[in-house]
């Protein structure tokens, strides 16, 4: 696969860069959110930082990553092949991107309600749930990065 990467046509490079940049931002946002929410110890500023990292870093990164994924998928003509011929590393990538996107949306809604309720001194349970979602998403993203890079099967 590394040899394949070396002979990749130049026209694939930019879509790959877009996909990769988006994925890097997603993971960066998730690490920031997870660390902030986990280390907040009830401090409102860090809880807000955790939530806003998901909203202002992870979500835009996810959109760029997903658009880039579709672009490079189309450039590499995987969409011309029947599903049974699609390698598992692409399947893992799509699974994590699409289900991960849903989990991200749910965590943003739950966390958003939590941040709103912080005004009344409440909402910490909802932000703990957001932390759990972030940890799950981060773990799934790392599996996807491993699959995309190592290309099992």
């Amino acid at each position: 696969m590394s040899v394949l990467a070396a002979i990749r046509p130049d026209s694939w490079n930019f879509p790959l860069l877009v996909h990769l940049l988006g994925a890097l931002v997603v993971v960066g946002g998730l690490v920031t959110a997870t660390a902030s929410l986990a280390l907040a110890k009830g401090e409102a500023r860090l809880l807000r930082l955790g939530y806003w990292s998901l909203l202002a870093i992870t979500l835009p990164g996810w959109i760029v990553m997903r658009l880039g994924a579709q672009w490079i998928y189309s450039k590499e003509h995987w969409d011309d092949l029947p599903d049974r011929l699609i390698p598992s590393w692409i399947g893992i990538g799509f699974l994590v991107a699409d289900f991960g996107g849903l989990i991200l949306l749910v965590s943003l809604i739950v966390g958003g309600v939590g941040v709103y309720r912080m005004r009344d001194g409440k909402g910490s349970r909802l932000l703990k749930a957001t932390l759990v979602f972030s940890v799950v998403l981060l773990a799934a993203c790392l599996v996807a990065v491993w699959a995309m890079a190592g290309k099992p099967s």
Binding site: A6, T32, L49, V145
Partner: protein, 159 residues
């Protein structure tokens, strides 16, 4: 998966760790710009430690696994232009990153001084240190260098 595929996966995961640390520091820079109290400044330390750890893992992992791949994969050589460019950028990035860390440590140092002197209220000098424009410039430069490494890794010029 062959052994080299695992090494490539760890190389890429290290790159993700490095960029995650840089992004975490960007978030801290934004928060730090509105922080003028010793307690507020020092409460960001645990997050900064996470950032330092992820950057450290990323820097070590990218160079170790990257060099392994350069030696192990038949059609790559250490003297390939794109690998030399990446190595030069990595070393420049490491040096600039170290300077960035030094610039952003001045705020927490001042916060500790103020706290030990019993001054817990807002402090203009502390705010100025937390808003260090030198640190901001250096962090921007580090981020740009990492972006250039990424572009070099994808385009592999003169490969």
């Amino acid at each position: 998966m062959r052994f080299d595929d695992w090494m490539l996966a760890f190389h890429v995961l290290s790159a993700f760790s490095l960029v995650a640390g840089l992004i975490l520091f960007w978030a801290l820079i934004v928060v730090g710009r509105r922080t003028d109290t010793p307690a507020g400044t020092l409460s960001l330390n645990p997050l900064a430690k996470v950032g330092s750890a992820t950057v450290g893992i990323g820097m070590v992992g990218t160079i170790v696994f990257g060099l392994w791949l350069a030696f192990s994969i038949g059609n790559y050589n250490l003297w390939d232009a794109w690998i030399i460019i990446a190595l030069v950028l990595w070393f420049v990035g490491a040096a600039v990153g170290r300077k960035t860390g030094e610039a952003f440590l001045e705020g927490p140092r001042k916060a500790e001084e103020l706290q030990s002197a019993g001054q817990t209220g807002p402090n203009a000098e502390l705010l100025a240190l937390n808003r260090t424009s030198r640190g901001l410039l250096l962090h921007s430069l580090t981020s740009l260098i990492v972006l250039l490494i990424l572009i070099d890794m994808i385009w592999k010029p003169w490969a």
